[in-house]
Amino acid sequence: MIGSGPIVIGQACEFDYSGTQAIKALRAEGLEVILVNSNPATIMTDPELSDRTYVEPLTPDALEKIIEKERPDAILPTVGGQTALNLAVTLDELGILEKHKVELIGAQIPAIKVAEDRLLFRDAMKEIGVEVPESGVAKTLEEALEIVERTKFPAIIRPSFTMGGVGGGIAYNLEEFKEIAGRGLSLSPVHEVLIEESVIGWKEFELEVMRDGADNFVVICSIENIDPMGVHTGDSITIAPALTLTDKEYQRMRDWGRRIIRRVGVETGGSNIQFAINPDDGRMIVIEMNPRVSRSSALASKATGFPIAKIAAKLALGYRLDEIPNDITRVTPASFEPTIDYIVTKIPRWNFEKFPQADRTLTTQMKSVGEAMAIGRTFKESFLKGIRSLELGKEGSLFRRPAADGDDAVTSPEEEEAALRRKLVVPNDRRMWELFRALDLGWDIEKLHELTNIDPWFLQQFKEIVELRKTAEMIGLRDMSHDLMRTLKRAGFGDKELSEILGVNETAVREKRQELKLKASFKRIDTCAAEFESFTPYLYSSFEDACEADPTDRQKVIILGSGPNRIGQGIEFDYCCCHAVFGFKHEGFETVMINCNPETVSTDYDTADRLYFEPLTFEDVMAVIERERDGNVDVSCVVQFGGQTPLKLALALQEAGVNILGTSPDSIDLAEDRQRFNQLLWDLGIPQPASGTATSRAEAREVAAKVGFPVVVRPSYVLGGRNMAIVYDVATLDRYMTGAVDVSHDRPILIDRFLEHAKEIDVDCVADATGTVVIGGIMEHIEEAGIHSGDSSCVVPPPFLSDKHVATIRDYTRRIARALKVVGLMNTQYAIKDDTVYVLEVNPRASRTVPYLSKANGQPLAQIAARVMAGKSLAELGVTDDLTPAGMFVKSPVFPFVRFPGVDTILGPEMKSTGEVMGGAGSFGMAFIKAMLGAGQRLPESGAVCITVNNDDKNDVLPIAQGLVALGFEIIGTRGTAAYLRAHGVDCSVVYKVNEGRPSLADEIVNRRISMVINTPHGRESFFDDKAVRRAAMMAGIPCITTITGAAAALEAIRALKTEGMEVRALQDYYSAVAANQ
């Protein structure tokens, strides 16, 4: 089985969910499962899940080595996203499948080709009388230009065989067309783009369909996109079931679906088919079909309770749909079509704030990094629950008065109107909020439909929400009647939103509500609209009469999930939540999961004993806790595993009398609160970079003067290094302070001395109530401090750290953990500068690196932590010594830059990576090169390396240049660097910088003259645009290394590549080797 690799935009943890389901299903059939996936932060790569687990790069040669070693009978390529599908195609083309007699199951090559090759697909559709947009396929820009003559503007450009529409786009004029088509051609693995007639503004729908070997066909779920054609489904707010189709229209779509899956030839499994319908005359066309489980099928599974991936795996083994039981009803078979009696809303979450230069326009290329799903009995309820599931804070509120809006306040009504129109016409991540603002200003539905093409039915629903808001505001809380409050709650308004609307605090609303005896009840997701009894407690809240939760009286623990994926809080935390569940189950608890991210394993109804698909807000969590308490047992809550999301709730929950297991909320606060934490370290005598806090320019200058430049500045309480900057001078500091948003005395700006050229180290440990602390691993960063821990590669065990420092770090970690009375996990970040170990920060919770360490050690850290929180001591669990890795393991990040033209790829203290891969080997070099490969970076074995570094780095880069020469590389340098290297006996030629003359370095990269670039930034916005170089390199797909330490690692990796040659090894083998040695 092939996994989907690192988390990237368009391919997130939904494939961990589907893959995990598939593995379980296959093993239940007694098959031996061999898994290949480069992403360690997945449940599917847990060593006990598969028989053999290869955390290796998803490249043809790695795969062939594994095939040679394991001799599998078949490959299942349909649950690992586009990555697995493309890899399967390549393996076939290279004749590897045939050579080793491996058959493909799930989808055959011809079917994959018909579905993925836009041209073949178009012709196949015409053959069966299914309409597709006018289109043509081009392999060159010239061909593309000819085609667009026919298909006209706006033109849709889609590269073949790319996922999430990478490199695609909409062109409104020739200039744009040339740019996008050019980019598409280079990004398509087969250098081919489809130029297509635009149907922008049509209604967009998806069908999730399944077919078995006996040609039985079912539709699992229909999905409607609120954002019409032109916005990628992954960037659209979508709902299930489709709500604006007559039965006639829907059945026609279903008939087409059956014809399409038959013609494409997907014999068994699930497929996703996208349709567009012209709202004016009902004309329907098909957009594409994905012959595999997809993001949408994960959504459909969660939306209906029908486990598509699991069933798909069984079908691939030859089962018929009617031979597979429906887990939820038990009595009925899987050969049916789920019918649902609630509305599901999926809302994407974007991270544009991290890429200021990125274009926020939403097009045919997906840009969101995560999504939240919400369930309600009506569309309004579901939609409003979805909005609050996004955790956008103030930004997320649909009900802020225009005045409260920072950006375009104080403009004339005309300007305001024009500005608003623009924001509504051009789809962007904030459009829904702008839409509510327009409704607020009284714009009517016709006008809004004209501007957005959103179906009037949805606009009507939004309008009703706004009207309700206005009524509530008018009446006020004191005079609010039972009926009005009931109506508001049934429409999905949260206590928090109401408190904003009514200008009171949340508690007041909550008390009023309780006084009116209004509380949430819970309904079950049962695939059949209550026609049959449901045996799985998969629940959602609604303000209805009857409640179906019926909690048990078992001792139970509630695990709070991590909500929608976002940069800085992704799959790693879902992995930890799942392991918390396993741990507590092990200790005999009934486990209750609350989460709202449909992509995850934690929201699989058979992960926890009970699943509540709910927003992670105080109100929604308390509702579940109160309901579960009716089982007359005390309910404990766990906040340590879901990242910052549950942590933010810890204090409030505790104040509400909820028992929080593990590290106390007070200790959590102690670690988060600057003053208190500094004091603690001072008492422990553990060094920390000099620091201070400021709320004004003047104060900032003072602090800076005290601690000395350069400094790191950031707002308090941030995650993923949000708004964090390294400041070298007073002027920049002033600018930062002026720009800084909502600074106040309880939320000051934090200013730390920036430790330049310091080595950074991450440590995860688990501690129990007896004060025993076990260190899970000491991770040495490749990049130096200043680059966010989530963005730098790291390695265990630390190859370059002195024993002295390792000892110090162990000692500090233990003392801090004990001082904070940590029970469970703790993550600490250190920096070493001038032989001193400094503490950068402490997070008394599960961290991003826990899954990676668990794979490296073969010990499920998060699970151990959960069992400790359940009351076991580490001694009782038999883990008392610090854990040691079973080999050399490197973790490397993966970045979304390729999707954001114009964004600089340089790294800093603000995290930008979406995912990670792991490489393992006996030596650091080999482990590193595997990590590089896994992350899609192919390091060269020969050719020309261009070096262009700033002055501070020149003498450190010298040994690297010499090393490269020794390995037979040609060295090219920009003027300064070249002069320096020559002066030190490295023979190297000179190339122009960008803006210095041409052909410039960027040109040479495009000309494929250069196989690797080593470029450390020449300070802020230097005239010689490094940025252009880094982008050129990325677009050309050649490695561009931006740190000296990274370059050193690369050198060692290349050396290893040339001397050792790559080997593959299953995790199970690493572990057994270690066991053998003991």
């Binding site: 006639k248 749909l321 078979p333 039915w457 009469d545 009857a546």
Partner: protein, 376 residues
């Protein structure tokens, strides 16, 4: 305006009026289709029944001229979670609410339809009343207990046509059929005369027969077999319809007569139950019936699965079948009989709705099988 739904078991729901004002009574049933409320409302098989849609958002795409299965809504009453005030579809002629009001259908909205459905699922279908305005629930509950039971009541006589007529597709019908219907597997080699017994026939059955090249004459339910045979039909069709099949004795007698001839006969839903009874089988009432568009049915000859459109409260008892009648289709939900075929007469029938509308088109092949029989 407020409205109340009261049930015979004593429970009642407070909601809002969603259709015509007033008071209506009937057997409360639920339908799990996610689309097709207009087809359901106008399906004569629902006569005497108050229908709950389990899908919560109803009325979104309004009502269209051609999405009707008969001249007017036939349900006794209608229950929804949330009724849309607007109609959003290019074919829509108006909102569902106006449509219900215009046709005097009493309806209730904004109640916990899932709670109601679970009640009907566990207690079985119940008699109930919807009343608008301010009324005493306790009294309503009392009233529900006087409502006549479905068992033993012939509802066909109220919905069948008064006189025989020849079916002609309207232009609008034809256009929609072309856009949304599916191409028949084949058309009749020559125009075939089909005599359709109207027990409450759905328009789309007539459309499908016509699409397959049949000339259809529709006869009132009580038409003697002799009169039908006098028209020299190539085949006889027994339609769907409301109520208890066992109570429609005259139809059973006529079908007995017809079964003595060798005229190919095809029955759907009530027609299927009547054929079963005429051939000597028994029928019984299901706890809460089958109403929806997602029921899996297995064709025993091929093992193929059809996702079917269903609407029935009674079923044929397999143990009561004479040896010359075989079960051809089974319901995979509960194993009930979904299809019958006579071993030595060209007679066959299905419990579900191959004409769909609303629902999937999987079973359309049955019309072709009817052609095959007629052309033998």
């Amino acid at each position: 305006m407020n409205a109340i739904l009261a049930l015979e078991d004593g429970t009642w729901f407070q909601g809002v009026s969603a259709g015509a004002p007033g008071h209506t009574e009937g057997e409360v049933v639920f339908n799990t289709s996610m689309s097709g409320y207009q087809e359901i409302l106008t399906d004569p098989s629902y006569a005497g029944q108050i229908v709950t849609m389990t899908a919560p958002q109803i009325g979104n795409y309004g009502v269209a001229e051609t999405d009707v299965e008969s001249g007017k809504p036939q349900v006794a009453g209608f229950i929804m979670r949330d009724l849309s005030p607007v109609a959003s579809n290019f074919r829509a002629l108006g909102s569902l609410r106006d449509y219900l009001t215009r046709h005097n259908i009493v309806a209730i909205g904004d109640i916990d339809t899932r709670a109601l459905t679970r009640k009907l699922r566990s207690a079985g279908v119940m008699r109930g009343i919807i009343a608008t305005g301010t009324i005493d629930p306790a009294q309503l509950v009392e009233k529900t207990r006087q409502i006549a039971h479905m068992e033993g009541s012939d509802l066909v006589k109220d919905v069948t046509c008064k006189a025989a007529y020849d079916f002609k597709t309207s232009l609008a019908d034809a256009v929609d059929e072309a856009t949304y219907g599916i191409a028949p597997l084949r058309r009749a080699k020559r125009p075939l005369r089909v005599a359709a017994y109207d027990f409450g026939i759905k328009q789309n059955i007539l459309r499908r027969l016509a699409a397959h090249g049949c000339e259809v004459r529709v006869f009132p339910a009580s038409t003697p077999a002799a009169d039908v045979l006098a028209w020299k039909p190539d085949g006889i069709f027994l339609s769907n319809g409301p109520g208890d099949p066992a109570a429609v004795t005259y139809a059973i007698d006529n079908i007995k007569e017809l079964s003595k001839t060798d005229v190919p006969t095809f029955g759907i839903c009530l027609g299927h139950q009547l054929m079963g009874l005429a051939l000597g089988a028994k029928t019984y009432k299901l706890k809460f019936g089958h109403r929806g568009g997602n029921h899996p049915v297995k064709q025993l000859s091929s093992g193929a699965i059809e996702i079917t459109s269903q609407n029935h409260g009674f079923a044929v008892d397999p143990d009561s079948l004479p040896s010359n009648v075989k079960v051809t289709h089974l319901n995979l939900y509960d194993g009930t009989v979904e299809g019958l075929r006579h071993t030595d007469k060209p007679m066959f029938s299905v419990q579900y709705h191959p004409e769909a509308s609303p629902g999937p088109h999987d079973a359309d092949y049955l019309f072709q099988e009817f052609l095959d029989e007629m052309e033998k």
